[in-house]
Structure formats: structure tokens, C-alpha cells
């Protein structure tokens, strides 16, 4: 199973993902520059955090038109697993692979700190080994992470079980105080209807070793590895 880590001009979390794949999980991986037009040979695609194309106009708005995105959209539509973290989540929303959008934090301030997220759904390829309701300790680092969707879209997310993570307290209570950015319904991560595309604001790659304060983020990679069938 080979992981592809996308790099746009301004991406900054790609080396953290590479470190996790290379040194922690010891799996096959490779970088994919945004000008490439094929993702052939890769089994899972990662859109890391950062400020792709300077976040000009809107976060993810320009990255969506990078040459590689056509291949990413095709890969996702064919059921390939795609994970976007932070800026990657914003890009997936702009590209239409995930519903809704991410807006300026309600505090108007950049938030870089640990959060606790409650796992709401274990029926995605990423969360399949996470016990239901498990609280994960993973850091966030963003200025624009306030999840928004229209009431109709939100109702669809709820009824289809697409809300994968919610911000909460360390013991899993979903409260306003535990919401770091004003996201609707404390949403920290969602998946598409096909469940193979996951977007989340927290950074699992920064919480994959005890040395860094938490190993909880690693569960998302291990979930996918556990389900990887030999081809």
C-alpha cells in the first residue's frame, strides 16, 4: 500500500506526513507535486495542511484548479481513499469532494493547540479500528476552520452519518467551550457519501508518536492499513 502526499506551493505539513510514513509506520510513500497529472501507483492520497497558493482569494480556491486535482477527483470518484487535513480539508470542500466550507474562526484568531475530538463514525476506511465514541487528542493549527454548511446540507450530513469527528471535552462531552473555532455542531471532520473521502481540521500527523504528546492520530493511518487488501 503506497501513500501519496500532495504538495502545492505553500503546503507545509507534507514533511510531517512523510516522517510518519517513513519513520513511524515504515510504509511506502511518495510526494506528488501539484503540477503532476496522474496519481497512478498510489493507494491513498493525502492533502496536507498549509497555505496552498498563499490561500489567495479563499483557502483552497486556487489549489482546486491545480493540474493534479483532476486526477484526485477521478481517484476519489472511483472509491480511492483520500484524506485532507487542515488546508487539505479546505481544498476538498472547494473542489466539491466534500460539502460545506470552512470560514474564519469565530474568535478571528489563529488557534494552535491541542483539542479533543470525539469519533462519531467508525464506518470509514480511516476510523474503522477506532472504538465508537473514542476521544482522540490531536492538535489544530488554523485561522479558518469554522465549518459551515446550509441547513439542508447539514441535515443530509446527519442523516447519512457523514459527521465523523466533533470537538469535545477530554471525556467526550460536546460543549460550546470545547469548540475552538465556532464550527456548526462542533464539526471537526466529515466524510463524503461514499465514505472514502475524509476531511478534518486537526493534524493527525502531528500526533502519531508519544514523544510528540499523543499517538491518537496514528489510528487514522492504521485504520486504512488494517483494511488494505493485497492486490
Amino acid at each position: 500500500m503506497k501513500w501519496g502526499v500532495l504538495i502545492f506551493p505553500g503546503t507545509w505539513s507534507h514533511q510531517d506526513f512523510a516522517h510518519v510514513f517513513q519513520d513511524v509506520l515504515e510504509v511506502e510513500w511518495g510526494y506528488l507535486w501539484h503540477k503532476e497529472t496522474s496519481v497512478a501507483g498510489y493507494d491513498c492520497l493525502i492533502l496536507p495542511g498549509g497555505f496552498a497558493h498563499g490561500d489567495y482569494l479563499r483557502c483552497g480556491a486556487i489549489a482546486r484548479f491545480s493540474p493534479i486535482m483532476d486526477a484526485v477527483v477521478r481517484f476519489a470518484r472511483e472509491g480511492g481513499p483520500v484524506m485532507g487535513s487542515c488546508n487539505g480539508f479546505q481544498i476538498l470542500c472547494e473542489a466539491g469532494l466534500l460539502p460545506g466550507a470552512l470560514l474564519r474562526n469565530d474568535s478571528l484568531q489563529y488557534r494552535c493547540r491541542w483539542v479533543h475530538i470525539r469519533t462519531e463514525r467508525c464506518d470509514t476506511p480511516f476510523t474503522r479500528t477506532v472504538p465508537p465514541g473514542q476521544v482522540l487528542k490531536i492538535p489544530i493549527s488554523h485561522g479558518e476552520g469554522r465549518y459551515y454548511a446550509s441547513p439542508e446540507t447539514l441535515a443530509g450530513l446527519r442523516s447519512n452519518g457523514q459527521i465523523v469527528f466533533r470537538y469535545g471535552t477530554p471525556d467526550g462531552q460536546i460543549t460550546d467551550e470545547a469548540n475552538p473555532n465556532g464550527s456548526l455542531e462542533n464539526i471537526a471532520g466529515i466524510c463524503n457519501e461514499g465514505r472514502n473521502v475524509l476531511g478534518l481540521m486537526p493534524h493527525p500527523e502531528r500526533a502519531s508518536e508519544t514523544l510528540l504528546g499523543s499517538e491518537d492520530g496514528r489510528l487514522l493511518f492504521e485504520g486504512l492499513l488494517a483494511g488494505a487488501l493485497p492486490r
Binding site: L57, F65, C93, G100, L103, L108, Y148, G182
Partner: protein, 84 residues
């Protein structure tokens, strides 16, 4: 040649904390009568286009595809002919 002036604002249903903060600052300054403040973007484009109808269609398409995100934003624009 045409010039397009485009305003992009957050939809009414979307919370605008920046606008609310500015409204609060205006109230502090004594401008108590400001009942709402929304902050958006203003863009000016020049188009090498002779036909106003075509210019309008193009700008509308640009707004829908890139300049505004229909999930969270509304847009309005005005086209004026530019005489060199």
C-alpha cells in the same frame, strides 16, 4: 474594453465575526446607529471584450466558478465601458 466591479459578501445566513467586531468598534466610537456590518471583497477586472452582454456573461461565470463560493458567499457586479 469593459471594467467589472465585483462585490463578494458572506451570505446573510453566514455569521460574519469580522463584521460584528467592526460594528462593536463603531459603537465604541459613538456610532450607535450601526445596526449591521458585513465585510466582503471588492474586485476590479478589465476585460478585452467589445460586447457588453458577453462581458456580463463572462463575469457571471467567473464569479460562479472561482471568484465567489456559492456555499457561503453572494456576489453582485457592475459592468461599465472604459474609453481609452
Amino acid at each position: 474594453m469593459f471594467e467589472a466591479e465585483i462585490h463578494v459578501t458572506l451570505k446573510k445566513s453566514v455569521l460574519d465575526p469580522q463584521g460584528d467586531t467592526v460594528k462593536g468598534a463603531l459603537a465604541t466610537l459613538g456610532f450607535q446607529g450601526v445596526t449591521d456590518c458585513r465585510i466582503g471583497k471588492f474586485m476590479v477586472l478589465r476585460l478585452a471584450e467589445q460586447d457588453p452582454a458577453r462581458a456580463k456573461t463572462q463575469v457571471d461565470e467567473m464569479c460562479r466558478k472561482l471568484l465567489a463560493n456559492p456555499v457561503i458567499e453572494d456576489y453582485v457586479f457592475r459592468i461599465t465601458e472604459v474609453v481609452e
